[in-house]
């Protein structure tokens, strides 16, 4: 029996420059105990659909134009605010995407957990604090938070990303909802933790017979968990049906495009003629940060050892993959090589020249030869500089171009990175994530560097855009004969792009070797565990084949 029946839902955004049809005539239904996955790229309207059910959209721009959403027979779209509070408290719960910002940093997680119980709209369900705390602690155990009683009074910032998402799940389930909406719950997490969270949601669904709507842009994730799938694009439903005939018998070309974009398999092109001249040599590099958290002077954990005695070589023309979970020190290693982070000990040599110890002035000529591409396309571009200014700054500063030929050089860069030249006057916020990353890449290659460090360049992008950027990077490495260090936590992306791979954990290199050899026969058990987490996802996909 369908617990939620949505027919003809229309949600439009009335912005200053015209009406945007975010959701245009969408109908679907979910039975209790069943998982419906809604898949689509960012901007396809998948989140807007679910949020409009619970009236969570900002009213002035958004407006529900039409349609009905029956939940247990009652229409959610036309109920009074009081009734809506009842629904939110008893029937429907939401798990949001980014655990970092979805928890109130000023209140303890315990307080945020018991809130819906002690302030319940209808009187008889109100619980006392003691009672509510008992339920909350039990639920924390269930979602896998160790010594939950002690952690009850801690603050969100004292939890890792994965732990916070578990708290969010507990918070959603505390009121025993009948329908659980998960809005990309694992996108912001590392791959190993992603697997654990998905397993947890699956288990909870079975034990509590809860209907789940799982929103995601990553088909790989959805494959393992969903019973039914809904593919959305530009506010409309392109295809819906059971999971296996969507994945394997689809006729719809949009779904095909989505499936093709999942990177898997080895690096296709043959290795270029890799010269054995070492471009970068790192010997016994150490980068320690003063540990803000405890300043008592006992030697042991006075410093955070981000990079702890790392030595490696990168030869010219090679793409070295650097893999590790968040907090493994891979970004710090990248920044230390480029002398952007103050190193504590050890040395970095570029073409035989020692860089560590040079002051800013002396470093400038080397800066020209080494560049960096950052992870967050939104933060790495100066919001108040046009694309033209961003690209022309390095060219002019390093004297590569002068007043006369600057315009043509910038247009050349735009072509290199595949952006149309008439967008030179625009500002970063007017571009999509993928386009911004192209600008950042353009800025990196502007000074015609020999060595580029890409710090998780694609992890913040949609899967289809990811593929295009990776191809762009490979093409640029080819054309400009660059050497690159590719830092990422996504193993399948690293496998797709890099010649050699270095595995890092807690500031130390665990293992390094050619990509395919490593994939075939990992020596260290940490690498095994990493690869296992990937296989789990792929197996569930293969099983269905």
């Amino acid at each position: 029996m369908a617990i939620l029946e949505v027919t003809g839902l229309k949600v439009y955004f009335h912005t200053r420059n015209g009406v945007v049809k975010a959701v245009d005539d969408v109908s679907f239904s979910v039975d209790s105990g069943e998982t419906l996955a809604i898949v689509g790229e960012s901007g396809s309207g998948k989140s807007v659909t679910c949020y409009s059910l619970l009236d969570l959209l900002p009213k002035p721009p958004a407006k529900i134009e039409g349609g009905m959403a029956l939940f247990d027979g009652k229409d959610l779209l036309t109920c009074t605010p009081e009734e809506m509070r009842q629904h939110r408290c008893n029937d429907i719960a939401v798990i949001f995407q980014d655990p970092m910002t979805s928890l109130n940093p000023f209140l303890t997680i315990g307080e945020q957990l018991i809130e819906p119980l002690i302030y319940h709209p209808d009187k008889e369900q109100v619980q006392t604090r003691v009672e509510a705390k008992k339920n909350a602690v039990a639920l924390l155990d269930e979602v896998g938070i160790i010594d939950s009683h002690a952690r009850f009074d801690c603050y969100p910032h004292e939890f890792s990303g994965g732990m916070r998402q578990r708290v969010m799940i507990a918070m959603a389930l505390i009121t025993e909802p009948k329908l659980l909406i998960c809005d990309e719950p694992t996108t912001a997490l590392d791959v190993t933790i992603q697997a654990q969270i998905l397993k947890l949601i699956k288990k909870l669904q079975e034990t509590r017979n809860v209907a789940v709507i799982f929103i995601s842009h990553d088909l790989g994730v959805v494959a393992g968990i969903a019973d039914k799938v809904l593919v959305m694009c530009d506010g409309t439903i392109r295809e819906s049906g059971d999971t296996d005939n969507i994945f394997y018998k689809t006729q719809n070309d949009y779904t095909k495009k989505l499936l093709a974009a999942i990177p898997e398999g080895a690096k296709t092109q043959p290795n270029r003629t890799k010269s054995d001249e070492t471009l970068i040599e790192v010997t016994h590099l150490k980068t320690y940060f003063k540990n803000q958290l405890n300043t008592n002077k006992n030697e042991e954990n006075r410093f955070i050892k981000a990079v702890d005695d790392v030595s490696l070589k990168i030869s010219r023309g090679e793409i070295l993959g650097l893999v590790g979970e968040s907090g493994s020190g891979k970004s710090t290693l990248g920044r230390s090589i480029l002398q952007l982070a103050p190193t504590t000990a050890g040395s970095v040599k570029f073409e035989g020249e020692i860089l560590t110890g040079l002051n800013a002035k002396k470093l400038v000529p080397w800066r020209r030869k080494m560049q960096m591409i950052f992870q967050d396309p939104y933060a790495s571009l100066n919001p108040r500089m046009t694309v033209f200014q961003t690209l022309s700054e390095p060219l002019l500063y390093h004297g590569i171009a002068n007043k006369k030929n600057i315009a043509s050089q910038v247009r050349q860069l735009m072509d290199d990175v595949g952006l149309s030249q008439n967008q030179l006057r625009k500002y970063p916020h007017e571009f999509s994530g993928g386009q911004r990353q192209r600008i950042a890449i353009g800025r990196a290659i502007a000074t015609k560097p020999e060595f580029i460090i890409a710090d998780e360049p694609v992890s913040a992008l949609d899967v289809t855009i990811q593929a295009q950027i990776l191809d762009l990077i490979l093409e640029l490495v080819e054309r400009h004969n660059l050497t690159m260090m590719f830092i990422s936590h996504d193993l399948s992306v690293v496998r797709y792009i890099s010649d050699r791979v270095v595995i890092m954990n807690r500031g130390v290199i665990i293992e390094q070797g050619d990509t395919e050899e490593l994939w075939a026969a990992p020596k260290q058990d940490y690498t095994k565990e990493l690869l296992a987490a990937i296989h789990m996802l792929i197996q569930s996909q293969n099983a269905l084949e």
Binding site: F96, L107, P116
Partner: protein, 311 residues
């Protein structure tokens, strides 16, 4: 937390020392001595007076002896009021000025935050424009205009409230506090509106709403803490302004505070009184800045742990 406070207090000592030094030499270089008067003062009398207050010594010697006294807490005799010591005058005036500043801050915070939060809850509606326009008028209305206006309306025509004095007649603290506090209420309204709008757009507010909490609870429990951080940051400079601003209000409402003393001392070249009050007022300002910084840290659990060092 206290380690941070001690650190800041240690920093305050050199600041105070620099303030005393600059003020001392600033005051002594201002022309016109403390004893010149309208009726011509015979030279031998001036000589005798300067001897009594050892003003005839070289300036730096006076400075060293003055520092010696200050360290023991003795701020010296007042020139203008013979027989009165600066300590006595400050003890008489400081509590009143501090109390006036405190009540004014109370008015500013209560009216300011209520208006700011009210405006942020329904942006771009009447409930937003009304308080914000009022805030703008509040900013542009100087206290030397608002004070007399309030006195005329509430004091004399409606005869609800006493016109002057502090603590003698019940209710005589209301008009001065409102006069001094209005300007700052306006600033705080704008700041709290900005802070609240910013917080209300955060994800965790949406989470709270998704949990079915009532709108009022969301505002009070979730939004207020984050939203009022810019206001807390503003309290430091605001308190310094209140102390300085009290001079005008004290004159309008005949309040025996430090503000008037401060200006009169400057006009009378009462060196010890100026120095004494500068030290007291700057200590008050430094302490208050420290308090507001600690409050800002206490409000933010992440910072609180970083400072305390142990979780």
């Amino acid at each position: 937390m206290y380690r941070f406070a001690v650190g800041r207090l240690l920093q305050a000592i050199p600041v105070l020392l620099v303030v005393i030094t600059i003020t001392f030499f600033l005051v002594h270089s201002a022309p016109g001595g403390p004893f010149s008067a309208d009726k011509a003062v015979p030279p031998e009398v001036i000589k005798a007076l300067e001897e009594q207050y050892n003003l005839n010594q070289p300036v730096w010697q006076q400075y060293l002896s003055y520092l010696g006294d200050v360290v023991q807490g003795d701020f010296g005799p007042s020139f203008k009021y013979p027989g009165r010591t600066v300590n006595e005058l400050i003890v008489a005036g400081l509590p009143v000025t501090a109390e006036l500043a405190f009540y004014a801050m109370l008015v500013a915070l209560s009216v300011g935050i209520t208006a700011g939060v009210g405006a942020a809850m329904r942006p771009n509606t009447m409930q937003d424009y009304l308080p914000m326009t009022g805030a703008m008028i509040g900013i542009c209305m100087p206290s030397f205009l608002l004070g007399p206006l309030l006195v005329l309306v509430f004091g004399i025509h409606l005869n609800w409230l006493p016109v002057s004095g502090w603590g003698d007649i019940p209710g005589d603290k209301i008009l001065p506090s409102i006069t001094l506090g209005t300007g700052y209420a306006a600033y705080i309204a704008r700041l709290s509106r900005g802070g609240m709008l910013e917080v209300l757009s955060q994800d965790y507010i949406r989470t709270a709403r998704a949990k079915g909490l009532s709108e009022r609870l969301i505002i009070v429990k979730h939004a207020l803490r984050g939203g009022l951080i810019p206001v807390v940051a503003f309290l430091g400079p605001a308190f310094a302004g209140l102390l300085a601003g009290s001079f005008v209000v004290e004159t309008i409402f005949q309040i025996p505070g430090l503000g008037r003393f401060y200006v009169q001392a400057a006009f009378n070249r009462d060196y010890t009184l100026i120095l004494g009050m500068t030290i007291f007022l700057s200590t008050l300002i430094i302490l208050f800045n420290l308090l507001t910084d600690m409050l800002a840290i206490w409000l933010n659990p992440k910072l609180r742990q970083e400072i305390r060092g142990t979780n």
